[in-house]
């Protein structure tokens, strides 16, 4: 039985879709069968980030409505055979989702894949609720910035109230990715430190990703940044993917890293 992980954020534009694409590919690189599903109906984007926008024939709403099978709708990644992708519907709106349809789709995917990553829509409306409803775990993506952290807390609150697991008296695992950290700003006291963010949000840290211009360059090409072995963000996603697969990878001290030098200078700033 596969594990369903919802990638959520509350606020838009913090790197949720980028995280979904890179973690999906990272999990696949660890030889696990993984599918990434775009739940952002009406605002399809994961297809662009993963470079498969020209291959979309059927979408997940058509699967749910039994207009096609899962096998017909799923698209295989060009770079890793373990990674599959299911597109969001671009023409419909979020109201087409119902709990029954979502549960049926996820039950089927859990039989076929070890990991099912759901790219949630921004906001906390019905589309978001349907993404988290049947998830076994959630990864919360934030930027070290006040509006992102506040919105993430609201999203976590809804997750704790609406998740099927919570309703059954179980706990839904929540993990935090702090994305777009600017180490120099953190050192100068001009950006929230990871510890401060963890004090405020009640979740476990699963990874920190530094601000990296390569992410835009990668999205321009439709090649997730994890494929660039030299990229700081790519390396960070690769470590997070290993942690998701159960490997014990120590958390890195990104804040002490000097951009471009790949060198730890922690001692100098103490």
């Amino acid at each position: 039985m596969g594990t369903v992980i919802a990638i959520i954020s509350g606020k838009g534009g913090v790197g949720k879709t980028t995280a979904t694409a890179n973690l999906g590919l990272g999990i696949a690189q660890n030889n696990k069968k993984c599918i990434i599903v775009d739940f952002d109906i009406g605002q399809r984007n994961l297809d662009m980030i993963i470079g498969l926008e020209n291959r979309v024939v059927y979408d997940m709403v058509q699967v749910m409505d039994e207009e096609c099978s899962v096998a017909q709708a799923v698209i295989k990644s060009k770079v890793n055979e373990n990674l599959h992708f299911l597109a969001a519907s671009q023409t419909k709106d979020k109201s087409v989702l119902t709990s029954q349809k979502v549960e049926k789709l996820l039950t089927e995917l859990k039989e076929k894949y070890e990991f099912i990553l759901l790219d949630a829509p921004a906001g906390i409306e019905s589309g978001f609720e349907h993404t988290i409803e049947f998830a076994d775990a959630a990864i919360v993506v934030v930027n070290p910035e006040v509006s992102s952290i506040r919105d993430a807390d609201r999203a976590i609150g809804i997750l704790d109230a609406k998740s099927q697991k919570v309703k059954n008296g179980e706990e839904v695992d929540k993990f935090l990715i702090i994305n777009r950290i600017a180490p120099e700003m953190v050192r100068a006291g001009e950006m929230l430190r990871s510890d401060d963010i963890l004090d405020i949000l009640n979740v476990k840290l699963i990874g920190k990703v530094a601000e990296d211009k390569g992410v835009i360059d990668a999205s321009n090409q439709g090649k997730p940044v994890i494929l660039d072995k030299k990229s700081l963000a790519g390396q960070a996603y690769s470590r997070i993917a290993k942690r998701i697969c159960g490997e014990n990878v120590p958390l890195e001290d990104i804040e002490s890293m000097q951009q471009g030098m790949f060198k730890k200078l922690a001692g100098m700033f103490k």
Binding site: A161, K167, I200
Partner: protein
């Protein structure tokens, strides 16, 4: 006074402001995990006696006191 304010790094200001804003958000959180089920069951129970249009359940906080406010709208 301005000089004093300037000395405080903006990251710690952000933490203080966020802590207060999020505490207040959480206090006004209107959700319990069971609210949808409670609503459905309430409608079933009341329907035995009179037609119901909608049931609105709100969690209300005032100081230390938490309350559920249940509004049953009847169908005319």
């Amino acid at each position: 006074m301005f000089g004093f304010l300037k000395k405080k790094k903006s990251a710690s200001l952000a933490k203080d402001r966020l802590t207060i804003a999020i505490m207040s958000d959480r206090a006004s959180n209107q959700e319990y995990p069971f609210m949808d089920e409670l609503k459905a069951e309430l409608i079933e129970v009341v329907k035995k006696y009179i037609d119901v249009k909608d049931v609105v359940i709100r969690k209300e906080n005032e100081g230390d006191i938490e309350a559920l406010s249940i509004d049953i709208q009847l169908d005319k």
